[in-house]
């Protein structure tokens, strides 16, 4: 039986990187159908149709599916579920909201943040902030799961799948979208960036945090932050890297003024090369850093930015 992959669409645009990496993770399970939902998603559906390994795009263009509201979106997925053994999506805020709801409606368990698909019913996923990796086999007939995309390489865009318009239940009476407060930036997206520069409590203030952004811009990098930096208001919530924030695995991760709590490491320890700048030589971040610089960030960071 086929795989139904719920695609992320943000503001009418396909989240291509997330979807293409999820495709890479699940393509061994069978024919993959992509579900694109939301009014005005025509362009996203067309982009989805070009991804390699997609055999069909289902496009549900009802207004009720806009803004990723969980109740109508889950009802739509459930209405299609009969034809699929696997129902999945990238482990994004959107799918983490919708897919557990889908699973419960189907009376099956959900597996979130899957890092490897072993076979049709066996999956690997991290637990305890990544301190352990579990291999689990599900007895459910339908498998509902989200994929942690950081460790997969995106499929290419040389395909040409048909797009089929569909409709489904579209009751929008339970919740209403009011507003998105989304900052747009020219920087690469955190979860797909090749380089990430992150700042922590060590920065001391929102003004000082600009130092991190300057270095990131010099490197063409995305900006990340520790929970402490976000809680203190130095950085917005969507920059948080860690157990309960975003999981990244760039070629280069630079941690500045971050101690290296296990909850932070959970979000970045699979990066290829890790650099840490911290004035405390005992900071746990140095245990995972390939290159550690024990220094005051207020002198080291401007110097680094200047010399690059």
């Amino acid at each position: 039986m086929a795989v139904l992959l719920l695609a992320d669409v943000n503001d009418g645009h396909l989240a291509t990187d997330q979807v293409a990496k999820t495709l890479a993770a699940v393509k061994g399970l069978g024919e993959v159908h992509l579900l694109v939902a939301g009014q005005g998603g025509d362009a996203a559906a067309a982009d989805a149709a070009r991804l390699e390994g997609v055999s069909k795009v289902l496009f549900a263009g009802d207004h009720a599916y806009c803004h990723g509201l969980a109740e109508p979106t889950a009802a739509l997925v459930v209405s299609l579920a009969g034809g699929y053994e696997h129902i999945c999506g990238a482990a994004t805020a959107f799918n983490k909201n919708v897919l557990p709801r889908v699973a419960a409606l189907l009376d099956v368990m959900v597996l979130t943040d899957v890092t490897a698909v072993v076979d049709a019913s066996t999956f690997e996923r991290p637990i305890y902030a990544g301190n352990a990796v579990q291999t689990v086999k599900t007895a459910d007939a339908k498998k509902v799961f989200t994929v942690r995309t950081a460790n997969f390489t995106a499929v290419g865009a040389g395909g040409s799948a048909p797009v089929e318009a569909i409709s489904g239940p579209a009751d929008g009476s339970l919740s209403k979208w009011l507003e998105d407060k989304v900052a747009t930036s020219d920087r690469p997206e955190l979860t797909s960036a090749k380089i990430v520069v992150s700042g922590g409590r060590g920065l001391g203030s929102e003004e000082n945090f600009a130092m991190i952004e300057k270095l990131a811009d010099k490197l063409g990098a995305a900006v990340g932050a520790s929970r402490a930096a976000v809680d203190s208001g130095y950085a917005p919530n969507d920059w948080q890297v860690g157990q309960t924030g975003k999981v990244v695995a760039p070629n280069l991760y630079v941690a500045i003024g971050i101690s290296g709590a296990i909850q932070h490491l959970a979000g970045m320890k699979d990066s290829k090369v890790i650099v840490a700048i911290n004035k405390d030589e005992e900071a746990p971040i140095f245990q995972v850093a390939d290159y550690g610089l024990v220094a005051d960030l207020f002198t080291a960071v401007p110097e680094l930015t200047g010399k690059l």
Partner: protein, 253 residues
Amino acid sequence: MKVLVPVKRVIDYNVKVRVKADGSGVDLANVKMSMNPFDEIAVEEAIRLKEKGLATEVVVVSIGVKQAQETLRNALAMGADRAILIEATADVHQDIEPLAVAKLLAAVVKEEGPGLVLCGKQAIDNDLNATGQMLAALLGWAQGTFVSEVALDGDAAKVTREVDGGLQQISVKLPAVLTVDLRLNEPRYASLPNIMKAKAKPLATKTPADYGVDVSPRLTVIKTAEPAGRKAGVKVGSVDELIAKLKDEAGVI
């Protein structure tokens, strides 16, 4: 309006987790256990609603081993009014799956009739992030997940959600299930007098059979392994040396 808060007993977030050598799981014998940090935030929010006169009663529920009593007493000491313990297993290593937890919570909701359920966003042991969404599904209710702000507004709640691109504001019809994120509030510590008072607050003990719910797992854990470690790196002496290493040795800039 009654508010229901499910609280889970989990390994304390400061404890270094150890995977058992035989790959059968994580060692939970004699380690410090605490209330799931997100659930403390949920309890705090419920108590604040009561303090503002928006909630009439705060009921906390925990599902698991009998020691989860301690977690419930902790919530009572923070200010919850009443607790329900559903003893679902005697084995500290058995995690009751979110689907089963959601079914039990749905049964409790039917009995108690709360106007709002405040769950944590995720349990820091299994990291599943699923129970609140599953409960909302089983009840046919609206859900507001990963919330960092809640404002009750008649028969709806206006919530701010932490999403990938920033924040999203939605309005959910009540009754609803909300799952709380880190920045919703800072939970209070229980004072000594309140810890004493909590001992006298009602705590009912139930079993899954009382609710007619089958909690047998759908998942079989085949193996629990340590993640691949990183090999120790080097300390560099200067910014110049760092740049040279990144360029010549690692080739990442």
